[in-house]
């Protein structure tokens, strides 16, 4: 067993994991302002919540095996799909990549010792945990778990007797945590880049986080005030969303989607950043169209904030409003497509190495293309009327949110986890798990498109018997996927606990700064803040480069 001394010997100094601070035991973690430790605190919390969300999703799938009740009652079913949405979106994917991998790697990748506001960073984590605890309270307190769907649509979210106020407060607090993380990252990127690292020498992951930070800062306050207004409606009955008192429920939907559509990009853009790191590393070739990828992140942030009403084509807006929002929806596809073309162009003539992170990255491109193109279908006004509130949209969001943000997190885990802990997972096992997840994913979610197209309504407890065959296929797919995910977690957790130790700095032959520091990184990341000369993806001859690093 290689002990601390050996790591110190190999790297010249102790890692952040071995560092003895002024606190002991668990306090060395939950009171640490080290961005790497905070990243790992998030990692543990987020993956635990993911397992909760996945369990709920699996139970929903089992329930839908038969057209009438199977294992749970209708009220429980409503609570399950609500909690599945709330947990997966607000607690898992929205914080997911920025809070875990952004925290851990952003400062290292731009050559900084920490984020701009380390204590604020820890506060974000506490707010995140508070939000999670409130969700748990909302589930178990008398009154019952929320049953409105994750969209909290008015008027039901005011009328239902379930624990809405706690749920809404939880999402409000999670939003606050998200804002503080975004604000921290924007300032970090502006102020703490290493000497010589100009904007266009930044790794694309930092560009993704930068664009995401702006989306978080710009749109999250809107969901904050909206949820606050719903709470005020419930407590005081002010009437802002109540038609009986002159209010307008549709206004709630506008406010809600002004946040919640860009929130899709809060999930996707950092994942795209991860993919932009993995693809060049495993193709051993510079990224194609660096500036286009960087600018397209900003373009997505901009246009993505202007398309919200395409969630509301069926509620009765003016024709001109519908036309404009439909047009903008098509436009937002352009920067996304630019990224897809650049990634695939990067593969061309690269020496591709199909390790687990690369497999997840390639799956990301495939799933994101399906998710994105089905989004375009819904952006067309006439088609959207047909498929509004059907399983088509459910399929679309799962391809987009799970296929991009989810697979982005899995890709990042396989890419960076050995760097974070200095332990390697079983690559063969990881590849097998990947193929099981990927197969299960498509069997689970692709039937959603077909039955949605045929008219199966979303969130429905009972359904017509002709849809049963699709539901059964989908549920079988969910079993395959869950098995694969459990295998993946088993492999990764086992590697962290007693996997083979790695001390090699550059595990995959990447050219970004995190591969130039020790594995696992030392407490202050760098002995001396590096002076950056080359761009992030200038692969010369990898073997020579690796020699120099050693």
């Amino acid at each position: 067993m290689a002990g601390i001394a050996e790591t110190v010997q190999a790297n010249g100094h102790e890692s952040y994991l071995d560092h003895k601070g002024k606190h002991k035991g668990i306090f060395a973690w939950i009171l640490s302002t080290d961005h790497k430790r905070i990243g790992i605190l998030y990692l543990v919390a987020i993956l635990s919540w993911f397992l909760v969300g996945m369990t709920l999703g699996g139970l929903i799938r089992i329930e839908l095996l038969k057209p009438e009740g199977t294992i749970i009652g209708p009220q429980t079913y409503n609570a399950f799909f609500t909690l599945h949405g709330v947990i997966m979106l607000f607690i898992f994917v929205i914080p997911g990549i920025p809070a875990v991998f952004g925290n851990f790697f952003l400062p290292i990748m731009i050559g900084a010792e920490d984020v701009a506001f380390p204590r604020l960073n820890l506060l974000s984590w506490y707010l995140y945990m508070l939000g999670g605890i409130l969700i748990i309270l909302a589930i178990f307190l008398p009154g019952g778990a929320p049953d409105t769907g994750w969209t909290f649509y008015i008027p039901y979210s005011v009328r239902t007797s379930t624990n809405m106020i706690i749920t809404l407060s939880a999402v409000f607090i999670l939003g606050f945590s998200s804002i503080l993380t975004g604000l921290n990252f924007i300032t970090t990127i502006h102020r703490l880049r290493a000497p010589g690292m100009g904007w266009f020498k930044m790794p694309l992951f930092s560009w993704g986080l930068y664009a995401t930070g702006w989306i978080q800062v710009i749109v999250t306050p809107i969901i904050g005030i909206t949820l606050l207004l719903v709470i005020i409606e419930r407590v005081f009955g002010v009437g802002i969303f109540d038609p009986a008192l002159g209010g307008d429920p549709i206004l709630f939907q506008h406010l809600f989607w002004i946040y919640s559509h860009p929130a899709v990009y809060i999930m996707a853009v950092p994942a795209m950043g991860v993919i932009s790191e993995i693809i060049p590393t495993f193709s051993h070739r510079t990224i194609f169209g660096y500036k286009f990828i960087a600018y397209s992140s900003l373009a997505i942030a901009l246009f993505g904030s202007l398309v919200w009403a395409h969630h509301m084509f069926a509620v009765g807006m003016s024709d001109s409003a519908e036309f404009i929002f439909s047009l903008l929806t098509f436009i937002v596809a352009i920067p996304s497509a630019i990224k897809v073309f650049n990634w695939t162009a990067t593969l061309y003539k690269g020496s591709i190495q199909l390790d687990a992170p690369m497999l997840y990255a390639l799956a990301f491109i495939f799933l994101f293309s399906i998710g994105g193109l089905t989004g375009i279908i819904q952006g067309a006004l006439s088609v959207d009327i047909q498929i509004t509130d059907t399983y088509f949209i459910v399929g679309h969001i799962h391809y987009v949110v799970f296929g991009t943000a989810g697979f982005g997190i899995f890709a990042a885990l396989h890419y960076w986890l050995p760097k974070m802990f200095g332990k390697m997972y079983n690559m063969k096992f990881a590849k097998v798990a990947f193929w099981i997840i990927f197969t299960g994913f498509n069997i689970l979610y692709f039937p959603f498109f077909i039955m949605g197209w045929l008219g199966m309504p979303r969130r429905s407890y009972h359904y017509l018997p002709q849809f049963q065959v699709y539901h059964v296929i989908s549920t079988v797919g969910s079993w395959i996927m869950i098995a694969g995910i459990l295998m993946m977690f088993y492999n990764l957790i086992k590697s962290v606990i007693n996997g083979p130790r790695v001390t090699e700095r550059n595990l995959w032959g990447g050219e970004t700064l995190e591969w130039s520091v020790a594995t696992p990184p030392p407490l202050t990341n760098f002995d001396k803040i590096p002076d950056v000369i080359d761009g992030p993806y200038e692969y010369k001859d990898n073997d020579i480069e690796l020699e120099e690093v050693k």
Partner: protein, 207 residues
């Protein structure tokens, strides 16, 4: 040992420009938070123009104007306190910070009397009198309570923040050379002020 020394330097790392940038970004999110309410206000004002007009007549313009003057003056006193500390006049700076808090308190007291009077007249959410009036009135008063209430909450937070700044100034955590905390608190107080500058015409002067 060397790593521990590095750790210490890492945590006293100081970047005033960065701190200010973070504060501005935070203020920006606050503006958008209120922006959502201004958005709701503008929609309902557009839909119920005359109702809003009539409902605003019952507002006490005198108290509103007084409060505007108080908040504007308090913005000046907090700005002066920063200048005073930069010129190494600690006592003056402290008293100016104290005056700012007192102005905030007077503002809230006025607000209390104003709300009490309105509630006494039956103009509060869910009251039978208000429910018998047209929807524009109900929405006007609903928004009045929500928006000035949220603003009042910000006044309270601002006062607490400034009281912390007074403590920091006394304990020399804030010094003429390390003044960025006080500056950030000042910026926050200006935000509280500027939101009121928009609330005042929207609720008191549209008659």
């Amino acid at each position: 040992m060397s790593t521990q020394e590095q750790a210490v330097t890492a945590h006293v790392h100081r970047d005033d420009v960065g701190a200010r940038m973070g504060m501005w970004l935070f203020l920006f999110t606050e503006l958008i938070l209120f922006g959502g309410l201004f958005f709701v206000y503008s929609v309902y004002r557009f839909l119920h123009q005359t109702d809003f007009h009539v409902a605003a007549k019952s507002m006490n313009v005198f108290i509103g104007t007084t409060n505007t003057a108080i908040l504007l003056t308090s913005s000046m006193t907090i700005a002066l306190s920063i200048v005073a500390l930069r010129n190494r006049k600690k006592i003056l700076s402290l008293s100016l910070q104290g005056i700012t808090v007192i102005f905030g308190l007077i503002f809230l007291i006025n607000k209390y009397f104003e709300w009490t009077a309105e509630i006494h007249h039956g103009n509060y959410p869910g009251s039978p009198e208000l429910l018998s009036q047209p929807p524009g009135h109900i929405l006007f008063y609903g928004l009045y309570y929500v928006m000035t209430g949220l603003h009042g909450l910000h006044v309270i937070i601002g006062m607490i923040v400034i009281m912390f700044m007074m403590r920091f100034t006394i304990k020399d955590v804030i010094t003429p050379d390390r003044i960025v905390k006080l500056e950030a608190a000042g910026l926050y107080w200006h935000l509280v002020d500027i939101i009121w500058i928009f609330l005042f015409p929207l609720f008191y002067l549209i008659t």
